[in-house]
């Protein structure tokens, strides 16, 4: 592997100084399950690797019934699915934390890392989008908040500027009668990259959809927020017809490529099936959540 230096700052200020000094020659290390593979393969370069796991703000899990959940960008998956508050209020987050990689990867990998790696196939990003999550980013010119759906710009690329750091991801408190789910299709049962994936969230009211959001994985250069699929459900009765219409919109919005994992036609078909099934699960969760 290429030579680099290593630092383990204990505060955001220390991290900011290191980032300012090294700019785009610095790389952030959280769980390392993507960045170490990329550094080893020469796909990314670094003169300084900044390990952010000792910074309290990147390690916190904070739940508040009125404001929601703040999840430090470096919190590994096993801490997410081991957390009672997340289990109780965000079944969709448990879905993705439990299916990324295997047990060993889940011991290290974080949702913040999944976001910053910005792969089109990232399993956690569609789910974060449909939950309306926002990113807290600090940098040389201060702090800013960006919606997750605006974060990724191209495969492996995102809106983070040189010396900016993703600190945490904030999820609004779930509305009453709401539910979310993420599902993907892979040829194995685990440890694989999504051929396609669908994340959905719904809010129900008197037998109708009050609102819904749909986002897809692996069918565009970035995780794809399909706003119109969710909007088509708002005000509609909860039944097979309305769900099928939203799934068809998701299928039409997908812009996949042919590659070794699947063809365009197959992936578009998967988007329809996965969106429909994920909506059915989310509706069940919403009915059970009260």
């Amino acid at each position: 592997m290429q030579w680099f230096d290593y630092a383990r700052p204990r505060t955001l200020d220390e991290a900011a100084k290191l980032l300012a000094e090294h700019g785009d020659r610095a790389r952030i290390l959280a769980g390392g399950t993507d960045i170490l593979v990329q550094l080893r393969a020469g796909a990314r370069a670094a003169e300084m690797v900044i390990d952010v796991k000792d910074i309290p703000e990147l390690n916190e899990i904070h739940w508040d019934g009125s404001t929601g959940l703040t999840l430090g960008a470096a919190v590994p998956c096993y801490r997410i699915y081991g957390n009672a508050d997340i289990k109780q209020h965000y079944a969709g987050i448990i879905d993705v934390a439990s299916l990324i990689g295997g047990t060993q990867i889940q011991g290290r990998a974080s949702l913040g890392g999944n976001l910053c790696n910005s792969a089109p196939s990232a399993d956690a990003i569609p789910l974060m989008i449909v939950l309306g999550a926002t990113c807290r980013i600090v940098g040389p010119s201060g702090e800013r908040t960006v919606a997750v759906e605006d974060f990724c710009t191209a495969p492996g690329k995102n809106i983070l500027q040189a010396a900016e750091l993703l600190v945490s991801i904030h999820f609004p408190a779930p509305k009453p009668n709401s539910g979310a789910h993420y599902m993907r299709f892979i040829p194995r049962n685990e440890m694989d990259i999504a051929v396609a994936g669908a994340g959905v969230s719904v809010v129900l009211e008197n037998g109708n959809f009050a609102s819904a959001r749909v986002a897809l994985a692996s069918v565009a250069p970035t995780p794809l927020f399909v706003k119109e699929a969710g909007e088509a459900l708002a005000g509609q009765p909860v039944n097979d017809e309305s769900i099928a219409r939203a799934a068809a919109i998701a299928k039409n919005a997908a812009k996949p490529i042919d590659d070794m994992r699947g063809t365009v036609r197959y992936r578009k078909h998967l988007c329809e099936v996965l969106t429909r099934r994920a909506l059915q699960v989310a509706v069940q969760r919403a009915k059970g959540s009260n």
């Binding site: 290429q2 030579w3 230096d5 290593y6 390392g32 593979v37 390990d51 060993q104």
Partner: protein, 160 residues
């Protein structure tokens, strides 16, 4: 030129100090510096699980951990699983159940299985298979591995 870094850590219950390059993986440090060659290098990118070790109580692929991250941590490798000259029940059951052929994946699988049985004394077959999904074996077809983990769970329960 980046400097080498002194790392103080605990491996298999013993204090260990080593000097490494920041770019070296924990797996490289264990094998090439500390001389513990039980953890194996298979894919070197986190897929195969042959380099699995316990890192502060969690299983990780040590090829995807930097050696410098071991500072102040507790690490258990396959060398720390047996109790002196007495094999751990998982090791004994792997021998009796012929759960290995070439043996390259075995150290990682035994470390991973031990972590599972330490937190769940009677896991279902499905749970064992999911837990070990990050450990590839190209010889056995997995059935003998899963059955040996189940046998070890039973033996460990009897011993309680």
């Amino acid at each position: 030129m980046p400097r080498k870094v002194q790392v103080q850590t605990k491996i298999n219950g013993e204090d260990v100090e080593f000097l490494c390059e920041p770019r070296q993986s924990l797996l490289e440090a264990l094998r090439d510096i500390v001389g513990l060659t039980g953890a194996k290098e298979g894919c070197n990118d986190g897929n195969c699980g042959a380099c699995t070790v316990l890192f502060d109580g969690r299983i990780v692929t040590s090829c995807l951990v930097l050696a410098v991250e071991a500072e102040g941590k507790q690490i258990t490798t396959i060398e720390g699983v047996a109790m002196g000259n007495e094999l751990h029940p998982i090791q004994q059951c792997f021998l009796e159940g012929a759960a290995l052929q070439c043996g390259i994946c075995t150290p990682g699988i035994i470390v991973a299985a031990k972590a599972l049985l330490d937190q769940d004394t009677n896991p279902s077959e499905e749970k064992i298979r999911l837990w070990l999904a990050n450990n590839l074996c190209r010889c056995t077809g997995y059935d003998k591995i899963v059955r040996s983990v189940q046998a070890a769970a039973g033996r460990m329960q009897e011993a309680r």
